[in-house]
Symmetry: C2
Subunit: 192 residues, 2 copies
């Protein structure tokens, strides 16, 4: 049962398809396979050659996107340093993979259905861990659940990506805008 290692060409084609799928589906989840193939600059036949089924492509795209996000987040080393700084690195990392995150987050049921399959990798420090660490240190709001904070983190990041998508925010300002909101909200506080 040895899987023959993929040719360079095949590997590139596969990744092009997965990337295009995430990008296209993030913006329109009713997109046709033909749409995706076109975006990947690949014939529809080729797409089917790599992913026989639509479900196959979808599953693969979920897995791939999840891994891409995971990798980006892992690089942020959110288990090191002060929670606040770690959070900022985390947000920056998430914005970096906005496409993939938008795909995963766009359809609410995607994450729900697949979330179980990807938990086991305990080597990667989770967002929840970071939030709880911050809460334990009294840096983050402890009046609300860590899970709820995580939801908002994803939502705000997605919103930032979307805002950039429609030209409402400059690309390079997304991270800062999200961080600003996430940390402080919109109410101006005056020193007593």
């Amino acid at each position: 049962m040895s899987t023959t290692p993929e040719t360079g060409t095949r590997s590139r084609t596969r990744r092009a398809i997965l990337s295009a799928a995430a990008s296209v589906l993030a913006r329109n989840r009713a997109a046709t396979l033909a749409d995706i193939a076109e975006a990947a600059q690949v014939g529809r036949s080729t797409l089917h050659r790599y992913f026989p089924d639509r479900r196959d492509l979808f599953n693969a795209t979920v897995t791939d996107s999840f891994q891409a996000v995971e990798r980006s987040v892992a690089e942020a080393a959110i288990d090191h340093g002060p929670p606040l700084e770690a959070l900022r690195r985390l947000i920056a990392a998430m914005v970096d993979v906005g496409d993939r995150l938008a795909f995963l987050f766009g359809d609410a049921r995607v994450l729900e259905e697949y979330t179980d399959c990807f938990e086991p990798d305990l080597s990667v420090p989770t967002t929840i861990d970071l939030i709880k660490r911050g809460q334990a240190q009294g840096v983050f709001d402890s009046q609300v659940s860590a899970e709820w904070i995580q939801e908002m983190l994803w939502a705000l990041t997605y919103t930032g990506w979307e805002a950039a998508e429609k030209g409402l925010l400059p690309r390079h300002g997304v991270t800062a805008a999200v961080i600003r909101m996430f940390e402080n909200g919109i109410v101006v506080r005056r020193e007593p």
Copy 2:
């Protein structure tokens, strides 16, 4: 060209369909007309009788949902009183029509495509007005654009609705959770 006023029965049926459409499509935008008909407790024939086309139904649902949201927001009287309190009323009003808002907000392109059609009603004070008023009074963050704040407001409200949907937040706690986040973020501040 006098439009005969609708029978009570027809009016009820129509509203049942529109409500069901918003609710079903909010949770699954690939839902079948049969799904919607079933949710509305109506035969598929009847649905087609009221909305010949899928596009017809969709357009009507957008309009209806928009008006429902508008009505709810109007009741919040966001042009009166201190901006902070008005904002809280606004969020509560939006959470109240969570279904409709989720439908409108769920598909990013829905609002983009239709947003032009609904602007003209200037009698209703807009969210943007409230945000700008708050910014002018130095109560809301002026470092970011009002449009961006509005995006986040919708996003957070939607996230709250979704969190309740999946049991992550209690229904009655959604409004408070959203307000808390929107105003203060998650970072704990200490008095100097």
